[in-house]
Symmetry: D2
Subunit: 429 residues, 4 copies
């Protein structure tokens, strides 16, 4: 299982300096076409339209998560809980945890009701190069890797390396996204955090002396969410992208004749996507169609695609749909009146984040809280020790924005009255 390469291979990585690979199994996984496909899927979706440096792919993030787990596992070497198989299991799960992502996951999943986690599972268990490589360990190994990623594996310690409030996934993406966007907020002292990690039976805990390093990590996370991940310009691009997909699906369903048949999208439109179909989809393919559709007959599809390709995004204002329901209805009517379809040109987008949570029973994305290992051997949940973390834990903050095409509204010439009213509600000058 732990067959070594003749010579350790390294990848130059701007975040971790080097990614080290010494096992043949890992090298072979990286070489599979399903894993190479991640090069064609951006890590941060439409964020590159806000932060131009954010053009990095899920490929580099996946290598990064692997590298962090590799370093943790090396630090654990020699501990009895930690045999060869668990090490390889951790490394493979780290490398493959995102292998099922498709293009612009956020929008595609929402519009076409997909879940990348299902595809991750299928890629690991189905008839793929990845599965073939994993089976070299043993017949059951692919299932184990899939279970770790699905958080259902018995070995909770291994699961916690990949999925917890302070797992390798989050640590890599914060550092990496900060590096490529160029913001300074995502920095924290990962070397220190790795040094204070201690394995227990069912999770990794943190030596109490490392509490401040963990606080710093939590704050980085908080900042990255509000500064980068939920940036309103990025969400504007997301809104447009979703509208493109909705429109194309709608047109297809009502029998519209596309200039070039969008064969790659057929099974998406029918909500019946096979693994093979899915694997053919990447962001090049998506962008290819968006480019073509800039010249479609349908004015809505054409306009939305042009906006997306050329970054002519929607503007936004603060807007609370609960409070401002009447405004919303009024705007919708006025848009109709002015000949702008509100289904495609008026959208409320809400983002919310729980920067740290110690207990969210029943929530879908429940992650293990962080425990500190006190000098006396006791475990304490982080927010009970840290003022800063306590201050932000469990506090869900939500940001609502209303998106609309300011240029289109300003260009309205025939519906002067509706135009004036719209501009008034939207505070347009």
């Amino acid at each position: 299982m732990l067959e070594l390469l003749n010579e350790e291979k390294v990848f130059k990585d701007p975040v971790h300096r080097y990614v080290h690979v010494k096992y043949k199994l890992i090298w072979d996984l990286i070489g599979t076409k399903e894993f190479q496909r991640l090069r064609r899927i951006r890590q941060l979706g439409t964020t590159y339209l806000t932060f131009h440096g954010a053009e990095h792919s899920r490929f580099s993030h996946s290598l990064g998560v692997y590298e962090i787990v590799r370093r943790i596992v090396d630090l654990f070497e020699g501990r009895k809980e930690w045999d060869d198989k668990n090490r390889m299991l951790s490394l493979c799960a780290a490398l493959l945890h995102d292998v099922g992502h498709g293009p612009f996951s956020h929008s595609f999943e929402k519009v076409f009701d997909l879940d990348h986690e299902d595809f991750t599972r299928e890629i690991i268990l189905g008839e793929t190069e990845v599965n073939q490589v994993l089976r070299q360990v043993d017949q059951d190994f692919p299932r184990q890797v899939a279970d770790v990623i699905a958080k259902t594996h018995d070995n909770k310690l291994v699961v916690s390396l990949i999925s917890s409030q302070i797992d390798a996934d989050r640590m890599d993406y914060l550092l990496r996204d900060a590096y490529f966007t160029g913001v300074s907020y995502g920095q924290f002292d990962i070397e220190r955090i790795l040094r204070v990690m201690r394995p227990t039976e069912d999770q990794v805990v943190i030596k109490a002396s490392g509490m401040h390093a963990v606080e710093d990590y939590i704050m980085s996370r908080y900042q990255m969410y509000w500064q980068v991940y939920f940036h309103p310009v990025t969400r504007s691009a997301e809104v447009i992208l979703s509208k493109v997909l909705h429109r194309a699906k709608h047109l297809y369903k009502k029998g519209y004749k596309f200039k070039l048949k969008p064969v790659h999208f057929y099974s998406l439109f029918m909500e019946n996507v096979s693994l093979a179909d899915y694997l053919r989809l990447d962001e090049s393919v998506a962008m290819y169609y968006f480019q073509l559709w800039q010249d479609e007959e349908d004015t809505i599809l054409r306009d939305l695609c042009r906006r997306f390709m050329n970054r002519q995004l929607f503007k936004y204002i603060e807007f609370n749909p609960m409070v401002q329901l009447k405004d919303w209805r009024r705007l919708s009517d006025l848009f109709e009146e002015a000949g702008i379809d509100p289904n495609y040109y008026l959208e409320v987008d809400s983002s919310s984040d729980l920067p740290y949570d110690f207990y969210r029973p029943g929530e879908e994305e429940e992650r293990l809280p962080i425990h500190l290992l006190m000098p006396n051997g006791e475990l304490r949940e982080l927010s009970r020790e840290s003022d800063v973390v306590e201050a932000i834990s469990g506090k869900k903050r939500t940001d609502h924005k209303l998106y609309f095409p300011a240029d289109m509204i300003n260009d309205l010439s025939s519906h002067r009255k509706a135009k004036e009213k719209i501009k008034e509600i939207l505070h347009l000058k």
Copy 2:
């Protein structure tokens, strides 16, 4: 001409921290669809297959060159040589100097006999959004910008900001490519270099006290060429890419029936590319076709595309075609014998670089040498003052590699004798 935005805009940039835009003209140029298209063209072509961080686009590089020129021009403010028009000319030329690049320029230009400089000129002078924006200054302004980029403009000082041995273009790409690949070689003290730049009538010169900073820049350049730009693995991907394009063109010309008509490539295959055709081409479109072609009937096209998409590259050995001509012929014959078409599977690639040159009369890419401004007001050419630069100037170093599909050779089963001979010549075990 110098109409200001209501409020200065900034782009967060990982290399220069922030890119500042205060002129409406610059903001509008960035918003044109021809400029936005640069987001879909990688700065370093196939390098991402060697350095996974190198996924950045020509869009970010173009902003970076603009930002460097902006800083230089700010430092020159108040000098009599330097009026508003020259400043705007410099900024526009900086921003647009690469606007004509197409997908994987290196391979596409070679195979289809294109020159991105022609398209840069066409984009600036033709019926484009870029041209429309530039004409807001005056009717002649687009031509002036094009002339600066083409190095034919009368104002040699402005030209030298964009094209010399130490221009904004080179400074940005060295820093940026180093940042995204993660190598440390490309670092130099740009802040110091900007501080010691002095404008003269026909070029920017460097105060003698800044000589060591410039030496460091020259050495960075030297290192980046050999460590990154000419990396043999990157060149392997280039070789395969060129072969894909050659094969597709060859098939098209002999009437092969593609599963999906490669309409985007028609004018390329016919070597008759209009600006409109060219602008529709980007790396998403190219990658879309390469993905499709993985399932083509033609075994050569199919194999090459799979190699490119899944990073199953050719191996290489040192090989000097001048000296080893006989080996080359022999190999070619043996490949034919074994049923491997040497036109597509055997290629010598040569890279060479002049790290610094003070005088290359008649050379196509002739760039101005660097002059030092001595305390007594005299100008001296850099390599006459610097031992290190003298040591490497004018020394063209060439690296030849022979590329071939080691896996295919190892899998040969029916041509055992040819196989053995091939492996012997290529030192394959």
Copy 3:
């Protein structure tokens, strides 16, 4: 007043890259012997015994504060509130704000009842080279500079650059101390903060869009306090240093005969320090005496000096003097019993910090709160807008530690019983 140097001078600075000086007045101030003296006083006192990189001096910090103010003032250029005199006033106050610091200020001020702010004022107003340089502007200028530093100047805006919750002093020391210690906590995006600063009549405020950058700065401050400034090992060295000074003073007062007369300390011991005496004191002089005193007759002075010079520090435990008063008395008695003088070998040290405070009326070190400038022109106090800041504002956290010489206790041979009891109370094994 604003006489320029022939050529701008620069200092290479690891934190701000370059410190730029173009005014002759600033250059002359830096050259005064009172300012050069700051090279011989460490920025972080005894911290170098915990973080070995923290050997930087108040000289470099003072240049750094000047440089930040210079950049702010440049950004304000052209605003009507901001004339030449206010600019020069801000620059001089920034440069000189710490000029009155003496060696190991914290301990010396406490033991000898000094206040560096008094000496700052005296240096600026008294018969010094600094005063002579400042008077070149006009006779009243020194007083104005002193008033800005004392926060009593009428121009509240200028005062706020040097003394507020987000002033140049704090910004420089957080970045600088983080750089030299090597911890990552002190990082924040100063360039962004400078860009969102807006001058108002009586303070600098922050554009609301920059709120997250300010949050990040506040968190950096919080982390630096607990990770670096209040580090228990640093405080152990402070405790020993204070005891050295106390002992020397005590010996002097009771007529002890030092091997070499500690003439530099006489006026300190008598609590009657002239400016001339004070200026002769620096950390070289202090260290010289501590070294000599390692060989004094008095065993306590000798022992404490050896501990300080050779970093044989006191150990510590958590200890709350309010709660554990009885333990404290008991320990003190046991120390006496065992022949260890508790006045020199048993000490509780308490550190506490208010990471951010919006209103502390009547407090000695009251600093202006941070105001955000909302899009509608309104000002809002930071903690009303930021959850994170609200969470930590006004919360004073205190950390108490009890320091003692563990080695000395372990070496006790003749007082076995006292030893055992002491070890029990101190949890020594």
Copy 4:
């Protein structure tokens, strides 16, 4: 010998992030008073007067060299050549290689004819805490450590870790001095270099694939020498410092009565320094005397000390003593005539460097050349493979400067004629 600490200790280090100590022996060595004394000796002597950040001590450099050797030795773990004893020998030699340095070594050694290497040997072999700790290994161990540092030990591989053209000493000081001065020139990819190091019987060699990383290191070294180590302002301070020491010695020898007896200097003046005397000397002590001497009767000593303390340095011009011998004599006479003692106020300082040398037989500081390990197992000397290194190898470049007190010359009032002639020769305006 390899007794472990209960828990690994770490030092936060800005250059290597963390310095790791797991052996009790190393921890004890760091705690000795001879090693702690290195905190009071700056790594770069008078350089802090040019680069204000360069206030770091030999203590931090020594830890850094230890850390690099620790990493190399860890990479070599498991190789047969490399037993426990050799590892400990390497670590101790790394830590202690500079332990014999005194204050401002360069000047003190020259003026008082000392050699820090003799003191290093004495500290390791004499009656010191260091010796006591080392003898815990065995009686002969101190001698072995001393031999490694003296390059006379049989194990050439161990010697080469500490003293070769690419040893841990040089690697640390280039990185560290670059970090603290803030210049960017000293950066190179140490992680890569460590990865390509291979131990052979008598030295560490470099895998050929790492050649460019080594080139980059050599160029860093070259740049640091000319940009930092030989900076003319630093040398001006060195010149003054040497003159101070000469003058004090001269005065002492002729029976001058100092206000305070310079007891710490007596044995230096007599050139008969015991180890105990030497260990009492550090930069605090030296600075203490220089400060006192600012108020001495002797005008030369007083003036020179004031210059040194307050950074009123000598100016300089390019001056080649071989060529300009006549000017030199003339100046010397004119100085005499004007009443300025040329023995103290006129000095030529020459710096020269061999950036890389493959063979310097008979030279005092002969260091092993760098060998590349070619893929075929052959060793080749670096400059035979690298153009850049070849270009600079063996080329000794020398820089001569003439130092003089420009202010004093300008202030001459009674010797107008001599003054004019002096100014003419020195190009003073």
